[in-house]
């Protein structure tokens, strides 16, 4: 499937005027394009709607207005078959893992393989794939495969969640804070995995993260979401040199402290 390589630059995920209000508007018209093969980081203060935006990509949250297009197809206007195709080619790493707690780790990961692929795979091939996915997230398959999610630590759950997202070999990966709550070694393992998937398999990654330094280091482009809108899109270098206040507050620690002081005074 992924053999026919797409060139970098074609739009892979396009958010067009995405508007979503709960009690108040959370996203007020977000426009953002992630290109194929790109590693794209999305920063933003806590509670600005980064997770909500990611969820609109798979219609887990339905926006009030606007559209999302994935690989040329509309999530909302091209019918249920298109949505099913999109869900099969996108892997989603949930912020809080969201493992199925009535299933074992193995069954959880198995769920990550699209149904039509599952029908063509033998039981041992499925096991091989689950094994490989667990090793990629630095978990020992022998120890965790038969465990229930309740028996795992928070960081282990998170990594099983990543294994479930990558086992289906998606073309696109949405990562909602994959490294938050992980120790440095596992953070490095996940970062390496994101990079490896991007470099070797040309997977398009949209990464929501609070790890600005890591995000700037790894990603081709970054964006800043704040107050329901995209305040900045550009390369990591442009981000570091930007003088938009929110961006400055994220780009270096001194500016962050200054911003906090300003808040204290007001």
């Amino acid at each position: 499937m992924r053999a026919e390589r797409r060139g970098i630059g074609e739009p892979m995920i396009e958010y067009r005027g995405v508007y979503k209000a709960f009690d108040y508007p959370v996203l007020s018209g977000v426009d953002l394009t992630v290109n194929s093969g790109e590693m794209f980081a999305l920063f933003g203060p806590s509670g600005t709607g980064k997770s909500v935006l990611l969820k609109t990509t798979l219609a887990l949250v339905v926006p009030d207005r606007g559209d999302v297009r994935v690989d040329g197809e509309s999530v909302y206007y091209d019918g249920p078959d298109a949505l099913e195709r999109i869900r099969c080619k996108v892997g989603y790493v949930f912020q809080y893992a969201a493992l199925f707690d009535s299933l074992t780790v193995f069954e959880n990961i198995e769920m990550g393989i699209p149904e039509h692929d599952l029908r063509t795979l033998s039981q041992s091939e499925v096991l091989d794939r689950a094994w490989e996915a667990l090793e990629l997230v630095n978990l020992e398959p022998r120890q965790v495969l038969t465990k229930m999610p309740a028996e795992l630590s928070g960081g282990m759950k998170k990594r099983v969640g990543i294994a479930r997202a990558i086992v289906g070999r998606p073309e696109i990966l949405l990562w909602d804070e994959p490294t938050t709550g992980l120790d440095p070694v596992n953070t490095a393992a996940v970062e390496r995995l994101v990079k490896q998937l991007s470099d070797e398999l040309r997977v398009t990654s949209l990464l929501v993260t609070h790890d600005v330094i890591g995000g700037l280091e790894m990603c081709d482009r970054v964006a800043m979401l704040e107050g329901g809108e995209v305040r900045f899109v550009g390369t990591p270098d442009e981000f570091r040199q930007s003088d938009i206040p929110v961006v400055r507050a994220f780009a270096d620690r001194h500016a962050a402290h200054e911003a906090l002081d300003v808040l204290d005074v007001s």
Binding site: K55, L58, A59, L60, E84, R87, C88, V90, Y92, F94, Y96, A98, L99, F100, D101, M111, G112, P114, E115, R164, G168
Partner: protein, 270 residues
């Protein structure tokens, strides 16, 4: 952000009342619409053979087989109580063989189906709402969608089918057990022989009664899981939300059972 009533020409209490009526009817139609959509979605899943029979069988075990003990205990007690109260009322006034009919008819027409349904609301309905509600608030439902699976096909449909299938069997068992218990109890407390009991039971028996009981059980077996699933999938607001939603779901199911039950005589016993 002005309060609507402050600009309204109506006096405050009236505007408040109208507003409440408006909101309630909106909520009712929202529930009705979502319930209808759920039923259609489940029906489509079944027609398109998207429901795994293994899942249905597993659910039949959980909701049906495992409910047998509590259903039988409830039915047995109901049969005993009916026969004793009947005995107390009728002794000396009406021929005792009437007891056979009193117990049989009240069990088959009313108590068997309704008590079984109420027991299942607590044992199965509440469990389904809490289970799906927890999955909803912990994003497991979202996760299912994200891996291209449909929660209606793999969670809702098996539970609903399992209860539609189990309920008539459970009610049949409850009916039988309640009548037997009533018969034994009549023998012990009133000295009413089994033949006399049967004679009375047959005297007023219509073959339609069995069918009526079955019809009720199917209606209840449909209503309970549909409401339970619907309420579960609407859950929001963390663990507290699951608790609140489960309580509301139990009230909703119980009321629905009683209302359906009240509709049965005018519709089917004319």
């Amino acid at each position: 952000m002005t309060e609507p009533s402050s600009t309204s020409p109506l006096p405050r209490p009236l505007a408040g009342l109208l507003g409440r009526i408006g909101r309630t009817s909106l909520l009712v139609s929202e529930h009705a619409g979502q319930l209808g959509m759920l039923v259609v979605a489940v029906f489509m899943a079944v027609v398109r053979v998207r429901v795994s029979w293994r899942d249905v069988m597993r659910q039949i075990y959980v909701v049906g087989v495992q409910s047998i003990p509590i259903v039988l205990v409830t039915a047995g007690l109901a049969g005993i109580v009916t026969s004793q109260q009947g005995g107390y009322q009728f002794t000396g006034s009406i021929p005792l063989y009437v007891m056979g009919s009193v117990v049989t008819e009240s069990v088959v027409l009313e108590m068997g189906p309704v008590l079984t349904a109420i027991v299942l609301v607590g044992r199965v309905g509440a469990r389904i709402t809490a289970e799906l509600g927890t999955m909803k608030v912990s994003e497991q439902i979202d996760a299912l969608y994200s891996v291209g699976r449909d929660p209606i096909e793999i969670l809702a449909a098996p539970r609903i089918l399992a209860l539609i299938i189990s309920m008539p069997v459970l009610v049949g068992m409850a009916n039988l057990f309640a009548i037997l218990a009533g018969m034994v109890s009549a023998q012990y407390t009133l000295g009413l022989g089994y033949e006399t009991f049967f004679y009375g039971a047959r005297l007023f028996w219509h073959s339609w009664d069995m069918f009526y009981s079955l019809l009720k059980s199917i209606a209840f077996g449909f209503a309970i899981p549909v409401i339970a699933v619907h309420m579960g999938l609407r859950t929001g607001g963390g663990a507290a939300g699951v608790g609140k939603q489960t309580t509301q779901s139990v009230m909703f199911m119980t009321l629905t059972i009683l209302i359906l039950d009240a509709l049965f005589p005018p519709l089917f016993l004319q």
